[in-house]
Symmetry: C2
Subunit: 211 residues, 2 copies
DNA sequence: ACATGTGAAGCTATTCACAGCC
DNA sequence: GGCTGTGAATAGCTTCACATGT
């Protein structure tokens, strides 16, 4: 293992840096420095430098960071130099929105299959893909070579679907249902819960209101 | 200021505790202890106790925590004893999914208005609400007394819409567009970016793959 | 006996400040 | 002179371990 260990907090900021670098690239900036990056992504210069230094010595003293090179490097660290294949499981309103979200392809991801349990949806069009039945989940995942699953099923069934995803070889799950998933070690899960975010916002409103 | 200062990390876990307590309530558990809570929400007992202790002395030594009382207390801290009113801005596929998401009402939130810029959508039904034009944004927000905005507009216009939300008195924004919003102090923003989450998952896949 | 609440210890992350290099 | 990379200092979070109360 060459790369010592990039802290998890740093990893979580890499996508932000990448976004800001892509913007700089569009603005035809050949080089960017830590102060500019910090401004663009709402951080501070020392943090940016420290984070990037975990990935290697990527900058040039007195100059800054080469935008192209840094984009390439962060993309490599994030493992998105090739587009990664993902499946959407649960084609309700949220699953539908995710399937047709245009931001994924340009950020390194491709939706390659869609599954749902509802017989009325099976076989219908999902923005260019066909909605497949849950019975085909394991085979379908192997067929298309998907590595990531976006889980947009109803909360009560999410755990059992997750178990099947894992047994089909999925190692990364983005869970949109408000339940904690139990998965074996080696499987990465990220939880997105909009109600949770709203409740945190509500806390801040409540704080202000007790003036 | 009576309540010393609840750490931000603790606040972020309160919604998780609340979810787990509601589950305990449904299972007719009158009392729960820190070990059980930790198991249910994937934390550890010391963390649970420390977090809850920031809110006051809510447990009984030798017994544990009264489920009902703790639900009430956390709800109060999160400011969701009354349902908070939110507007959805941007009624595309994502905005549509959010508007009809049934999880909000039971977690303390109510969508009270929907706005969009597209003339073809204005006036149409949004699951029981009427899609209103962006021209009515400020007046509409004041009219319905909304405190929170869920921002699901295209990335390029999100900042200018956010500015208008703030000038209309909104103090909490849930931003679903992949751009950093600049807002004045006193306005809380939470950023949800699914591409970011996928990229973090991709990093973990990449780590494993370099075996 | 049992489980909370909490100082203290240990650990991780952020910020500072400057040496090192262009 | 300017900007990176980084050890040192600081701040913040988590875990431990036990005194405290039921």
């Amino acid at each position: 293992m060459e790369r010592a260990q990039v802290p998890e907090t740093t990893i979580q900021r890499l996508p932000v840096y990448l976004r800001c670098l892509l913007q700089a690239q569009q603005e035809r900036m050949p080089v960017i420095n830590s102060v500019q990056m910090a401004e663009m992504c709402g951080s501070n210069a020392a943090q940016v430098r420290k984070d990037l230094s975990y990935l290697g010595e990527l900058g040039t003293r007195g100059i800054g960071y080469d935008v192209e090179a840094l984009i390439a490097h962060i993309s490599r660290v994030l493992g998105i130099t090739e587009r990664r294949r993902a499946v959407v499981v649960g084609y309700g309103r949220l699953g539908g929105a995710l399937r047709s979200y245009t931001g994924f392809p340009e950020r390194g991801f491709e939706i390659v299959a869609v599954f749902d349990a509802d017989p009325a949806k099976i076989g219908t069009d999902a923005d260019g893909l066909v909605v497949r039945p849950m019975e085909e989940l394991e085979d379908g995942i192997r067929e298309v070579g998907a590595e990531i699953a976006i889980l947009a099923t109803p909360a009560p069934v999410s755990q059992q679907v997750a178990d099947r995803l894992v047994s089909a070889g999925i190692r990364a799950i983005l869970n949109l249902a408000p339940v904690r998933l139990h998965v074996p070690a080696g499987v990465a899960v990220r939880q997105v819960c909009l109600s949770t975010d709203l409740q945190i916002l509500s806390f801040h409103l409540a704080q202000e209101q007790l003036t």
